[in-house]
């Protein structure tokens, strides 16, 4: 089966590209990125600020049981409705560095669309850090699950 979400991280480069085709009109995908209510719903985060204009900025905060788990912020460099968002993205409290994002919204048919996100990092090492996060997390999760199963067997 063709994968809906694709990642391209060419070796020797400090960037990566994420592409996704949606069963949604391009206007709705754009809204999912620009309307705080929708951002909050699909990202599971609290939108502290989201200024969709050239030279605007944004800030998100995710809490779990009253504790702030994750904070992200960035500057919105450019917005072109239903076409493009250029912004920076930085995760706070993590040793990862800020990166630049080019989000391209593309209409395929009236009901389908494509989103291409090009992310450019400070260096290839910084990109690797980012790729490593869910990898380490996923392995830890698998390990924790294994531990739980073993505990229950005792």
């Amino acid at each position: 089966m063709e994968q809906k979400t694709k990642i391209n991280a060419p070796e020797g480069k400090q960037e990566l590209t994420i592409t996704r085709e949606f069963d949604l009109p391009v206007e709705l995908v754009y809204k999912a990125y620009t309307e705080p209510e929708y951002v909050a719903q699909w990202m599971g985060t609290t939108v502290l600020k989201l200024e969709n204009r050239n030279h605007g900025s944004y800030a998100f905060e995710t809490s779990h049981e009253g504790k702030v788990m994750f904070r992200a912020n960035g500057t919105i460099h450019k917005v072109a409705p239903n076409k493009e968002i250029v912004r920076t993205f930085e995760m706070e409290n993590l040793p990862t560095s800020v990166h630049l994002e080019f989000l391209e919204f593309e209409k395929l048919t009236n009901d389908t669309s494509k989103l291409t996100i090009q992310m450019i990092y400070k260096s290839e090492e910084h990109r690797a850090e980012q790729l490593k996060l869910p990898f380490a997390y996923g392995l830890n999760m698998a390990h924790n699950r294994l531990e739980e199963i073993l505990k229950n067997l005792k």
Binding site: T5, E11, R20, L24, A32, Y38, Q41, G44, P134, A136
Partner: protein, 108 residues
């Protein structure tokens, strides 16, 4: 008997996967790695050796201690390396699709 070490074989073992996860967070000495397991120090050394032979881990000498860390070059050989990242984005986008479809039908 000489076996060609295979990276996928290397990560098929849960202990070795856990070692990878441990050093992915920060470089560690062999004894620091071994502390996380109930196995003997020798058993863990053997696992570290296999991971190093497969170029998944690399050594770094810091003073008197040898530290092991992820070898990004070796890790690239594993398609699975990028898979969790892809999966994370795929889940996010599926959520986006669900949320927007719900909103689409509500507004109709």
């Amino acid at each position: 008997m000489k076996l060609r070490r295979d990276v996928f074989q290397a990560i098929a073992d849960p202990t070795r996967r856990t070692i990878i996860a441990l050093v992915a967070a920060s470089a560690m000495t062999p004894s620091a790695i071994a502390e996380n397991f109930d196995y003997s120090r020798q058993t863990i050394s053997k696992h570290i050796q296999i991971l190093t032979e497969c170029e998944l881990l690399e050594q770094e000498q810091k003073g008197r201690e040898i530290y092991y860390q992820l070898n990004p070059k070796g890790m690239k050989q594993i398609a699975d390396f990028i898979e969790p990242f892809r999966k994370m984005w795929d889940d996010r986008f599926n959520k986006l699709e669900d949320v927007m479809k719900k909103n689409q039908s509500n507004s109709k």
